[in-house]
Symmetry: C2
Subunit: 187 residues, 2 copies
DNA sequence: CCGGATGTGTCAGTGACTGTCAATCATTGC
DNA sequence: GCAATGATTGACAGTCACTGACACATCCGG
């Protein structure tokens, strides 16, 4: 069985336990037992307990960065960033993946420890997008401003994804927010 | 001796050790020994090892929120946010506190675990500012947009504080970045 | 059949953190 | 002055995430 397959088996078992009992209340031993392996082997597939939950974010990051890189050359950066978020919007469109993501999000919000790791991941993700954006724009642009712009776009994404906004309204909510925050100087 | 005084004694000793040996390489036992108390007592003053480093951020948050609340009523939100950041700019102006903060920041950046907690704190701080901003603006404003605006302003702060920008240039760098990211719709 | 590469379980250890209990000390009421 | 009370502490044991070391199995090309 491939490494990826094992990881996904572990992840599925772990998420079930997390939903049942909560993240902090579930020990790594229990997860390992649920998939029939030793604790030591669990750590051969995931470098930490957090990783089980946050693993999918890594692939999402690569996806977003690729989308951003593929945007047409002349497009204003703010619009490119909005378009790079399309995969996220799509996932929100499908009820199955949306429910799954919502469950994950509830797990994350339920544990400060995990929430911290999650934010760290988002930070990494922003760095990836900043690099992609820098390549598109060229080195003449101010790197600090680019960094901030990606941060601003993520703030819109983060705000729109907040539970206060109901999931069906996600896409319009994101558009509205990004329109409101659109930098005045943007081409 | 007051609780605060003990906390600050612990914090001073801990920071010295962290600078010397690094955060991860310093055990709580060592910190406790350095101030002559048991490990158990250390945890009575700080709920975690992270807390020793991040404690000061809490007070900063209250400060920023108070500044924001005190801005004149008609001022555009983006400008109010910029002014709320003044205490941070001031700290960067004083060489002593700047060096101290830089040391702290190096400690934070040196440990992924601590960095994660730090970002979590920043998130909390943003929530505080969002609440303050909401009070100023009234409930007719879109809460999601307000949330995103605070996030955008923090992205500017975060980007400007990055080591790539030299400390003397911090204030102009922040102004430049916030000018570039100023929302087009802002009054 | 043998070589190493790869995957696994076991075990021992570290370090953060928690619960519990008993001793100490200052405060308060009498 | 003294006893009851509450807060602070140290000592100790325990849990849990995570790591390193080693032994064992399997598998695969030569």
């Amino acid at each position: 069985m491939s490494r990826r397959a094992v990881q996904s088996r572990i992840a599925r078992a772990a998420e079930e336990l997390f939903v049942d009992k909560g993240f902090e209340e579930t020990t790594v031993d229990e997860i390992a037992a649920a998939v029939g392996m030793s604790q030591r082997s669990f750590f051969r597939y995931f470098s930490s307990k957090d990783e089980v939950v946050l693993d999918s974010l890594e692939r999402l990051g690569e996806d977003l960065a690729a989308r951003l890189a593929a945007r047409p050359a002349g497009e204003p950066e703010w619009d490119s960033l909005r378009r790079a978020f399309d995969p996220v919007v799509e996932r929100f469109g499908d009820p199955v993946s949306r429910d799954h993501d919502a469950a994950i999000q509830r797990i994350i919000d339920g544990s400060p420890r995990l929430l911290a790791s999650y934010l760290c991941r988002l930070e990494l993700l922003q760095r990836m997008l900043t690099d992609a954006l820098t390549k598109r724009v060229g080195d003449d642009a101010d790197p600090v401003v680019l960094r901030a712009m990606v941060g601003g776009a993520f703030a819109c994404l983060h705000a729109a994804a907040f539970p206060s906004c109901d999931p069906d309204e996600f896409a319009p909510c994101l558009d509205r927010t990004m329109a409101a925050l659109r930098p005045a100087g943007a081409r």
